[in-house]
């Protein structure tokens, strides 16, 4: 019972290895999100092509 109480009070304590892996996952997700931003930017530019300049003013 005492061990359970200690565990509940302390919450989840990550090991250094778990912290390192979590950081790597977070960086990968950040990279993927940034990549998506670049992808949508490029897609918009190349899909529009010269049509922006050709629109009636």
């Amino acid at each position: 019972m005492a061990a359970d109480d200690d565990r509940r009070d302390a919450g989840l304590v990550l090991t250094e290895e778990q912290k390192r892996r979590r950081r790597a996952r977070n960086l990968a997700i950040a990279g993927a999100l940034f990549g998506l931003v670049v992808l949508f930017y490029l897609l918009t530019v190349f899909k529009m092509g010269g049509n922006v300049a050709n629109r009636p003013l």
């Binding site: 509940r8 979590r22 490029l42 899909k47």
Partner: protein, 320 residues
């Protein structure tokens, strides 16, 4: 301690621990080696298609097809973790080894599946996106969930999913599907059974232990060797077909004929040599050559188009 507190401790104990997954585990879920073959065949489909989007848009389409293929690999590993755990070749995969939880693999696969289909729809067109969605669904639902555990024809029918990337790519470039893209699909479709059965001949004990009804397990080694030979005989002319429908030139014709002859020769060796180490060597030799064969044919179609080699215009090509 009250009943409620007991329940809370039980609940805390039942919670999944912190994720152990590293970035490399999620990359492994994408089956990078399978993905490389998909990239190769889809790239060829993109390049040999007669009309095309801007190269940047085409590159984004290729990325979507690759990610879609990886996503179906992740969903396959999520569903098949029980089989993977008892097979030596796959026991070290992220889910059976416990590094990635099934829930993580499912969420990862579904996110990438939906994301790649939507992105392809926006980047290219919705026909291509629909074909990619069909490919993913066919691989995950029809092959992984249904056929793989129920019939020795699993990889024959399921092979359609692996054969589709050139057609998806062709559709992304042209907005339509064509006879030429169907020929590329047929080539990979016919290549799949001898490729996998050559491996299954060597790994049949693994498949038997996992309860997967691969052909050598259900019909025996001799019947598998016969089927490998029959499919190889059908594959060899199909390998030449791209040159007859206006996709390949003289270099492709020469290599596809020579490659087809060598494929059938190796299948004959597998058919004849049935005992001991030479039999294993023959099967693994065919397996290795089959990968080289498919890569070479698609690489050659790609190189010919980029180098400006004129495709053949024979009676068949003209008629089509």
């Amino acid at each position: 301690m009250s009943m409620i507190q007991d329940d809370r401790i039980e609940a805390v104990s039942a919670l999944p621990g912190p994720s152990l997954a590293g970035v490399e585990d999620f990359l492994a879920l994408l089956k990078p080696r399978v993905m490389s073959l998909v990239v190769m065949t889809a790239l060829t489909g993109l390049v040999v298609a007669p009309t095309g989007e801007h190269p940047v848009v085409a590159a984004i389409s290729l990325l979507c097809i690759a990610v879609g293929a990886g996503a179906s690999g992740a969903l396959n590993m999520w569903w098949d973790a029980d089989i993977d755990a008892v097979m030596a070749r796959t026991a070290g995969r992220p889910v059976p080894s416990g590094r990635v939880t099934p829930g993580e693999a499912l969420a990862f696969g579904m996110t990438l599946s939906v994301g790649s289909v939507l992105m392809l729809g926006l980047a290219a067109n919705w026909l291509a996106a629909g074909l990619l969605a069909f490919t993913i669904a066919f691989y995950v639902v029809v092959y992984t969930m249904w056929l793989k555990r129920s019939t020795p024809q699993n990889i024959v029918i399921g092979g359609l999913a692996g054969a589709m990337p050139p057609m998806v790519a062709w559709a992304a470039q042209t907005g339509s599907v064509s006879f030429e893209s169907a020929v590329l699909v047929a080539l990979i479709f016919m290549w799949t059974p001898p490729h996998f059965w050559a491996l299954a001949l060597v790994k049949s004990e693994d498949y038997a232990r996992a309860g997967v009804p691969m052909l050598p397990v259900v019909a025996g080694q001799d019947e598998t060797r016969r089927q490998i030979l029959l499919y190889s005989l059908a594959l060899a002319p199909l390998g030449v077909a791209p040159a007859l429908v206006g996709l390949g030139g003289w270099p492709y014709l020469a290599v596809s004929v020579a490659g087809g002859v060598e494929f059938v020769r190796r299948a004959l060796v597998v058919y004849r040599v049935r005992e001991g180490a030479p039999a294993r060597k023959a099967a693994m030799g065919l397996f290795g050559f089959s990968i080289l064969y498919l890569f070479a044919l698609f690489l050659l179609l790609l190189a010919e188009k980029l180098a400006g080699v004129a495709p053949l215009t024979g009676p068949v090509a003209g008629w089509l």
